[in-house]
């Protein structure tokens, strides 16, 4: 299974659906704070905030969307070349007693989310933490699941999932390649 799995339109539809699900699950958007995980979780969180605001006019997207860098919380730092540290932006509304929705592009082993949960713990104490992922490709190594998923994508470990977003890559697409294809 190789090639483009989600088109720009697919991504658009998935984010719109997730926006509705977030509102529905939380009975509104009053306490919602969206934290994108860099790099590509950040623009996804921004887009999701805009969708939510278009459905719930009272939702102040600018004050409710932020970013959370998890580099310093990773458990595999010593196995990788040194990573540059991304930025953490806590939204103006803060996260204490809010419902934090973590936003990432691909949910895989779950280790990134574990690190994000640790990072959130150091920033404050939300009422609840939920997880939205554009793609869930399986192969979890920790007891973590997503609350909102754009597309479930069964993959083999040998495959590689690349999410492209226009803000960073100039186009919207989700692609699967065999490792070594490139």
């Amino acid at each position: 299974m190789s090639g483009t799995i989600m088109s720009a339109a697919d991504i658009h539809r998935a984010l719109t659906r997730i926006a509705h699900e977030v509102i529905e699950r939380n009975e509104g958007a009053d306490d919602i704070v969206l934290l994108g995980i860099p790099t590509r979780g950040e623009p996804l969180a921004t887009r999701l905030g805009e969708r939510i605001a278009s459905v719930e006019p009272g939702f102040d997207a600018a004050a409710s969307v932020g970013a959370i860098d998890i580099t310093m919380y990773r458990d595999d730092l010593h196995r990788q070349p040194t990573r540059p540290i991304g930025s953490t932006k806590v939204p103006d509304r803060g996260i204490d007693d809010r419902i934090v929705v973590l936003v990432d592009d691909v949910l895989h082993t779950g280790r990134t989310i574990r690190a994000a949960l640790d990072a959130i713990k150091d920033l404050g104490r939300p009422r609840a933490v939920q997880l939205a992922a554009l793609v869930d490709r399986g192969h979890r190594e920790l007891p973590i699941r997503a609350d909102f998923v754009g597309k479930n994508l069964p993959t083999s470990r040998r495959e590689r999932v690349d999410v492209h977003l226009s803000e960073i890559d100039g186009e919207d697409a989700v692609m699967v390649t065999e490792r070594g294809d490139k």
Binding site: M72, H78, P81, T82, D122, L123
Partner: protein, 318 residues
């Protein structure tokens, strides 16, 4: 990066990475919980052959906020007089499994030797060696200036800025580190000192040299002025003195209100500390709005966190 020994030879890319990483570290220090788990299980040894409580606690705070274990090893008194102690100490630290050694030593080159001798495998951070280099001090100076003087600083250097460093250039490791770093980052550096306090080889440095502070203020559009600590003992002592008297030094090189008022309005005043108020810097300058001296101290922790992170967090060098 395996070691941080000096700013000479440091690429612009690495220098900017250090400053950007320090910015992220500084941001974490404004949170409720300032401790990060990043270096859990790593051991950082502060090996100080020279007293410097300020530098040591800055490195200690940085390591602890990244959750590293910190061992303070004060080896004062066993340094140059009995040379083998550096080697023996290094072998001891190696046996104890130090992942990084922060070394402060009165002998120029001690950090370089520790890193290249094969005595130990960990990373070496130079916290000041003799009159050679003090890279984290220069990085925190550059970081402080970039924050104050450069809009939207992430990813940027110090291009187009002019820094004056005033005082004892001859004996200063801070100057050597700052000259390399600021020029690498695109700034112009003006050294202001009497010829007795300049090294003979200074003519080959990429700097402007001026012998009077007033001339520096008149001739250059200074964005930052860094006042160096004057060691009183270097001023006296008959034929050994580098300068006739403290009073004459203050007259020619002290930063007082009138000199400060002649600086461009945005210019900042820096000092690596500890200050001699009334000698190289008047209280009215040290405590003015232009002074970033307290910020320098706070930024020191962030810069040292960044250095420790970049040296220790990545995969082990093969």
């Amino acid at each position: 990066m395996k070691h941080l020994l000096g700013t000479d030879g440091m690429s612009r890319e690495d220098a900017v990475l250090l400053l950007d990483t320090a910015a992220q570290m500084a941001a974490t220090q404004e949170r409720e919980v300032r401790k990060l788990p990043t270096l859990r299980g790593k051991t950082v040894v502060n090996l100080f052959f020279e007293d410097s409580t300020r530098t040591r606690i800055s490195f200690e705070a940085a390591a602890k906020r990244l959750s590293a274990d910190v061992i303070n090893f004060s080896a004062k008194g066993s340094s140059v007089s009995k040379g083998e102690s550096l080697k023996d100490t290094a072998l001891t630290l190696q046996a104890m499994g130090a992942d990084a050694v922060v070394i402060r030593h009165s002998a120029s080159g001690a950090a370089y030797q520790l890193a290249h001798s094969g005595w130990l495998r960990g990373s070496v951070l130079n916290a000041g060696d003799g009159t050679h280099q003090h890279p984290t001090q220069a990085l925190l100076d550059a970081f402080t200036a970039r924050r104050r003087l450069v809009d939207d600083p992430e990813g940027k250097g110090l291009d187009g800025l002019t820094l004056a460093i005033v005082g004892d250039v001859l004996h200063s490791r801070v100057v050597r580190s700052n000259v390399s770093l600021w020029t690498t980052l695109g700034a112009k550096v003006v050294l202001v000192a009497p010829p007795t306090l300049l090294p003979v080889g200074v003519s080959t440095w990429p700097v402007e040299v001026v012998h009077r502070l007033d001339h520096a203020i008149d001739r250059f559009d200074l964005d930052a002025v860094m006042m160096l600590r004057v060691q009183r003992e270097r001023m006296t002592g008959g034929g050994d003195a580098f300068f006739p008297s403290p009073e004459e030094y203050t007259r020619l090189y002290g930063l007082d209100r009138s000199r400060m008022d002649r600086l461009p309005s945005h210019a900042i005043v820096m000092h690596p500390g500890p200050m001699n108020r009334g000698l190289e810097i008047a209280a009215e300058a040290a405590d003015s709005d232009r002074s970033v001296i307290v910020e320098q101290v706070a930024n020191g922790v962030a810069v040292r966190m960044a250095a420790l992170y970049l040296l220790l967090a990545g995969e082990e060098a093969a």
